[in-house]
Symmetry: C2
Subunit: 345 residues, 2 copies
C-alpha cells in the first residue's frame, strides 16, 4: 500500500524517455489496426483507406504552467495547440479533441469559461471538434489532459524513424523564443512578488512572450507540403528543444546529424534577449523547447520543393550514425550536440 | 490573472452535468466525421465502413482513489476497465488506449511498475493495445488520464438517447456492491489510523471489496448480444449509480421509467452488508456507483433473446415522459427516483 515500500529507484535515474521505455516495453501490439504505438508524436490506427492518428498530452499547474502569468484563455488555447501540433507532426489533419479537466474549488465557473473560450478559439482556428472529455475535482490546482484525433490518407503518414543518410534537415520557423518568453515572465513574476505595486512591462518583448503564451501549430506547413507534393522522410514537432528532437529522429532512424549553426533560424528579438540574459542564442534554440515548429527531413532531390517555401529553413544533413549528432558553429568549430531531455523531475 | 476575480459562480451551483453543458454548448461539430460528440459514454467518429469510438476518463488521487487502500496494480487495472466499459456501453469493441500520468516524486520506478502491471493485465484481458500517452511530474499526488479507442460496424452503435416507450429496461449484473466495498475500505482505514497495529480483516467481505478494487467491464455481454442478434435500443454503463444512469437515458430519450424494486439485482453479500451499515440495499443500487454493469433497453419483441441469457435482469419498462422515473417497491408503493449525481465537489 505504501508506494515507497521495498526497493526504491528514483524516477530521475531513468529520465523521461528511459522511464517510458521501461514501463511500456512489455506491451505488445495485439490488434492489426494498431499500426504505430508508443514512440512517435502520435499513434496510428488503421481504418480502411484512412488512418486515424491519436495524440495525448497532460498539463499540470505548477509544472507546465504558472497561473501567476498564464491567462486561462491562453492556457486553453495552448493546450489544444500542443496536441494538434503532434498530429501535424505525423503529416495528418486533426479533426477531434477530448478535454479532461481536474480543478480545485479555487476555480469558479467564470474561470472555467475563460479556459473554454481559449479551447474554443483553438478549435475554430484548427477546425477541430470537441467531442468528449471528463470533468472532475482535484484536491489542488488545475490539471488538463487533451487527446487529439486526426486523419491521414494511407501512405501519407510521416514517422520519426524513417530519415535516411543524405536527407536534409529542415525546420519551419525560428527557435528559442518561447523559452526566453518564459524567462521574461518568470523575471516579472519575481519583480511582482517583491513589489506587488509594480506593473510588469512586457511591451518590448511581446514577440517572445507571445511565443510562450500563445504558440501556434504549423497547420499551414502541412497544407503547403501537400500542395507542393512534398512528403518529408521523417518529422517531429519541436516541443522539448531542437537538440532533443534531433536525438529522437537520429536514434529512431539509426542515423546521425550534422547541423550548421548558421542554418538554425533565430529571431532578432531572441538574439537580443538571450544576450541580455547572458545565454548563447543557439543554446536557447537547442535546449529551449515549446516552439512547436516542425523538424523534418527531406530527400535531397526534393530540395527545390522547399527552397522557395516561405518560412522553411534548411539547416543540416542526415549523416551515418557513427558520425554522431554535431553542430558546425559559426566560429568554424564542430561540437557534439547533447540533449538535455526532460527537466520536470 | 486571479481565477477568482470579478463575478464568481461556484461550480456547485451548476453540478457536474450542468457545468459540462454550460462550458461546451458553444462548440458546434464542424467535421462530417464527428458523428457523436459530447453527451454519451463515448464520441463516435466515422471512418469509411467502420466507426471509431473514443472515451476518456481522469482519475485523481484523493478524489477517485485513496492510496491507503488502493494497491497500485489494482488502480492501473481499474483505470483501464473504467474506460473500456464506456466503449462497450456504445456496443463497440475497445482496441487501443493511451495513458497519461502525472505523479509526484513520492512515486518510485517500482511503484510505477506496479501501476503498469495492472494496466498490462487489463490490456491483455480486454485485448487492447497501449499506443500512447504522456508522463509528467506533479507537485502532489498521482493523476491518470486514460483514453480508450474502439471500433463498431456502422449501424451497430448504441446511444443513450434512443429508448422508446414500451421498451424494457435490463441490467447485466448486481448493483450496489462496489459502493459497500468502498465503505468497508473507508471503515478499515479509520480503524488502521486509530490503531496502526490492527490488521484490516476483509476476508468476509471479499466480494464487495473486489467489486470496488477490481471491477470488470462487460465485454462478455457485448459478445453475447452479437451472438444472439440483439441490438439494444439504448445503453449506458453504470458508473454513477442506477438512478443517475436512468436519468441520462430518460432525459436524453425524452421518456420515463417504471422500475420494479424486485427486478433490481442485488447480491446477497450486498444485502447483508447494507443492513449492517443501516442502509437500505436498494439505496446502494440506486446511488452507489462504480458497478460498471450495463443498463440497456430492448424492444419488447426481443425479450426472448435475453430471457435465457445468463446474468441479464429485466427490471422495468420505458414509459411516457409525463409518467416520470419511478420505483415500484417490494412493499407495493410507488416512489419517484431522484438522481444524486455527482458528489466530488
Amino acid at each position: 500500500m505504501d508506494p515507497n515500500q521495498e526497493k526504491r529507484t528514483d524516477v530521475n535515474e531513468l529520465g523521461e524517455f528511459g522511464l517510458i521505455d521501461h514501463l511500456t516495453k512489455k506491451f505488445p501490439l495485439l490488434n492489426e489496426s494498431s499500426l504505430k504505438g508508443i514512440g512517435d508524436d502520435a499513434a496510428i490506427i488503421e481504418n480502411g483507406d484512412m488512418l486515424t492518428v491519436v495524440s495525448t498530452d497532460m498539463l499540470i499547474e505548477g509544472i507546465h504552467f504558472d497561473m501567476m502569468y498564464t491567462p486561462l484563455k491562453h492556457l486553453g488555447y495552448k493546450a489544444v495547440v500542443v496536441n494538434v501540433s503532434d498530429i501535424y507532426a505525423m503529416n495528418a489533419t486533426p479533426k477531434q479533441i477530448t478535454v479532461s479537466l481536474a480543478f480545485s474549488n479555487r476555480f469558479s465557473v467564470e474561470a472555467l469559461e475563460e479556459l473554454y473560450a481559449g479551447i474554443e478559439l483553438a478549435c475554430e482556428r484548427y477546425g477541430v471538434d470537441l467531442v468528449g472529455g471528463d470533468t472532475t475535482s482535484s484536491p489542488k490546482g488545475l490539471s488538463m489532459s487533451i487527446t487529439a484525433i486526426g486523419q491521414v490518407a494511407k501512405g501519407k503518414q510521416v514517422y520519426r524513424n524513417t530519415a535516411n543518410v543524405g536527407d536534409l534537415f529542415c525546420v519551419t520557423g525560428d527557435l528559442g523564443a518561447a523559452y526566453l518568453g518564459l524567462q521574461i515572465l518568470e523575471r516579472e513574476k519575481q519583480v511582482y512578488l517583491a513589489a506587488p505595486g509594480v506593473k510588469p512591462d512586457l511591451g518590448e518583448q511581446s514577440y517572445l512572450v507571445g511565443r510562450q503564451l500563445k504558440p501556434e501549430a504549423r497547420k499551414d506547413m502541412i497544407v503547403a507540403f501537400d500542395q507542393a507534393g512534398l512528403l518529408p522522410t521523417s518529422m517531429i514537432d519541436i516541443s522539448d528543444g531542437l537538440a532533443s528532437e534531433l536525438f529522437h529522429i537520429c536514434s529512431q532512424s539509426g542515423v546521425g546529424a550534422f547541423v550548421e549553426e548558421s542554418g538554425v533560424p533565430i529571431h532578432p528579438d531572441t538574439e537580443v534577449q538571450a544576450i541580455d540574459f547572458k545565454i548563447d542564442p543557439i543554446t536557447c534554440a537547442l535546449s529551449g523547447g515549446e516552439d512547436y515548429e516542425l523538424l523534418f527531413t527531406i530527400r535531397p532531390e526534393d530540395v527545390d520543393k522547399v527552397k522557395y517555401m516561405p518560412g522553411i529553413y534548411i539547416m543540416g544533413e542526415v549523416v551515418p550514425k557513427k558520425d554522431g549528432i554535431k553542430l558546425h558553429t559559426k566560429g568554424g568549430n564542430i561540437h557534439p550536440i547533447t540533449a538535455q531531455g526532460w527537466k520536470h523531475f
